[in-house]
């Protein structure tokens, strides 16, 4: 089965104000399936928005191809692409009513009046805005505008919906609610979503697959779980969630477990498979993979943050080196700042990167 969207070798360069060249896209390959929710994730300037705009037609590629359903769309103007976008600022037409905004794609196609009105009503219904069609966008709340933008973008039944950081202007609660609704909507509509964000939590919540980008390149593509548990490199590991990184030297193998030591002297148990003594690797431990115990890495609590269900600790290892971050549910023994603790972990939860 071929993918719905197929991007190969996409390149795009910008000239910087100083006259230099900056590669916004530096050879990007990406496939998106017909009913897939794919998130482009990365820090600002990583090229994710450029990639999105190349698909919608507002950026021209310097090289590479974009195929939709097998047809090359790179030469088509935006209005000929069966792709719609939800813009970051919503870009609602301020001089039109909500209903006319929603129906715009049909209006410009010259859809008959009766169909038009039925479709607009249905689209408004779908996003829970029935009855607000007569208002102007300026009379709506931020969340409502978001829904109008969404309704407007799906009314023409695009094969692919592009969303450019659509939730960034909403407050936290509303954002979480919209994340769930968006995912549900995508299921219901059965169309592919390509969602751009710099918010890793958002990416983890909604995506079927996450594409982590940096400096115009794709660092890793995978399911949220893959990305979180098996980051391919330090950048991905650090960008997705909180992470403890330990550059270590493998000292000896003991059956399924190997012992490794940081330069400062912190000793970790890691999976032995494929390891050999004297090798340098980077061990990754998520804060949730560490727990308070009677023995393990000894250190002093420098800061304790109480998060309700969880307790977040920063522990300075006695051996030296950077602080270790720990998230635990073990609230029975609430350690105080300055208290000495021991941190234990399951060696199987340690993820290793070949790079030192």
């Amino acid at each position: 089965m071929t993918a719905l969207l197929e991007i190969r070798g996409a390149r795009r360069e910008f000239v910087t104000p100083e006259g230099g060249r900056l590669a916004a896209l530096d050879g990007v390959d990406l496939d998106v399936g017909a009913n897939e929710f794919v998130t482009l994730l990365g820090p600002s300037g990583c090229g994710k928005t450029t990639l999105l705009r190349a698909v919608s037609g507002f950026e021209t590629l310097d090289g590479g191809t974009i195929r939709l359903d097998g047809a090359d769309i790179a030469a088509l103007p935006p209005f000929r692409r069966p792709v719609n976008t939800v813009f970051q600022s919503y870009a609602l037409f301020g001089h039109m009513t909500v209903a006319r905004n929603v129906g715009y794609a049909l209006e410009v196609q010259g859809v008959p009046r009766a169909t038009y009105e039925a479709e607009v009503a249905a689209a408004l219904e779908k996003v829970g805005l029935s009855g607000l069609g007569g208002r102007k966008p300026s009379q709506l709340s931020g969340g409502q505008r978001q829904r109008v933008a969404l309704a407007r973008a799906i009314i023409a039944k695009p094969r692919l919906l592009l969303l450019d950081e659509p939730l960034s202007a909403l407050d936290r609660n509303l954002r979480q609610q919209m994340q769930i609704e968006l995912k549900a909507l995508q299921h219901r509509l059965g169309i592919a979503f390509v969602f751009v964000t710099h918010d890793q939590e958002e990416a983890l919540t909604m995506s079927d697959r996450i594409v982590v980008m940096r400096a115009g390149r794709i660092e890793q593509i995978g399911t949220p779980r893959d990305i979180y548990r098996q980051p391919k490199n330090r950048f991905v590991a650090e960008f997705i969630g909180e992470t403890n990184l330990f550059p270590v030297l493998v000292e000896r193998i003991e059956g399924a477990t190997a012992l490794a030591r940081t330069d400062a002297g912190v000793v970790l148990a890691i999976p032995a498979e494929g390891r050999r003594a004297g090798e340098r690797v980077t061990a990754i431990l998520r804060p949730t993979d560490l727990a308070l115990a009677g023995e393990g890495i000894r250190g002093t609590v420098t800061r304790a943050v109480y998060l309700g269900a969880d307790l977040h600790l920063f522990v300075q290892p006695a051996a030296g080196g950077p602080e270790i971050s720990v998230t635990t549910r073990d609230v029975a023994s609430l350690p105080a700042t300055g208290e000495t603790v021991h941190l234990a972990h399951d060696p199987a939860r340690v993820h290793l990167l070949a790079e030192a």
Partner: protein, 292 residues
């Protein structure tokens, strides 16, 4: 309560005084003069006299005052010229304003400065410069003939074309600035949204850009239309004073016919007509942008 109204009065006082002195009072004087009897040697005699309007609209005694349809036809002619000036200014300024709004900041400032440059010199001087350019032995014909584009000098000076050219030249900055303001504020994202939703470039222009820049268009049109209706210097200098504009008529009443009340009545008529035209245009435009 009392104290508050005193303070309010003090606060609003200067504004009221300003509007009163510079706007209302002159208007009232014109309105009053327009219904007084013309003095034999200019000025007014303090007796009510309605024939200043009658001469224009069709009632007159036929002896001292004669109704002549020529006044209304001059008014309509002037309105036509003004409308044409607005239209041409708009057609010229819209694409240029668009282009300028896309220039880098530095060049935009340079361009805006250039646009306002004519204001630094007198209108009369600039019109005489056009006279020198347009006359048969002038710069334009010199260039055209030197390059072999024309055999004989083009007769532009003292034609209606020269009048329109002059009016457009004089009024272009007044159209450009509000238009540029509106176009510069245009939400690019909305333009992209329209294209993204399948609207062609033409549809996008008509349905999104035009309505969004409508305040600028209306603003520019109003600012250009009003002085264009009353302009008499351009037709005099570049048109050879052969076609009478309503502004000429007013000037003539004060400066050669010594009939102040008739001049005042004509001014009142111009003001009312302009007001009606503008209100109609603005309400129509607003209504149209609301409906599909």
């Amino acid at each position: 309560m009392r104290r508050q109204s005193v303070i309010l009065g003090l606060l609003l006082g200067p504004v009221t005084l300003f509007l009163g002195v510079f706007f209302l009072l002159p208007l009232l004087i014109i309105a009053l003069f327009s219904v007084l009897t013309p003095g034999l040697y200019g000025g007014v005699e303090w007796a009510f006299y309605h024939w200043n309007y009658g001469r224009v609209f069709g009632w007159a005694d036929g002896i001292t005052e004669i109704y002549e349809p020529v006044y209304l036809s001059i008014l309509f002619r002037s309105l036509g010229f003004a409308a044409m000036t607005v239209g041409i200014c708009l057609l010229l300024c819209y694409p240029v304003a668009f282009w300028v709004s896309r220039l880098p900041q530095r060049w935009r400032l340079v361009f805006l400065f250039l646009i306002t440059l004519p204001f630094f010199s007198s209108l009369i001087v600039r019109l005489y410069a056009w006279l020198l350019i347009l006359k048969p032995s002038g710069l334009l014909n010199g260039v055209l003939m030197a390059t072999g584009l024309v055999e004989a000098p083009l007769e532009i000076l003292y034609t209606p074309a020269a009048v329109v050219l002059g009016m457009v030249y004089v009024m272009i900055p007044f159209m450009f600035l509000p238009l540029y303001g509106a176009i510069d504020n245009l939400d690019r994202a909305q333009v992209e949204a329209s294209l993204d939703l399948g609207a062609t470039r033409v549809q996008t222009f008509v349905k999104v850009m035009l309505p969004q820049t409508l305040p600028g268009i209306m603003g520019g049109a109003v600012i250009v239309f009003i002085p264009s209706v009353g302009n008499f210097i351009v037709p005099d200098v570049l048109g050879g004073a052969k076609g009478l504009m309503i502004g000429n008529l007013v000037e003539q009443q004060f400066l050669s016919a010594r009939n102040w009340p008739f001049g005042a009545a004509l001014s009142m008529i111009i003001m009312s007509v302009v007001l009606v035209v503008l209100l109609t245009a603005v309400t129509r435009a607003r209504k149209r942008s609301d409906t599909r």
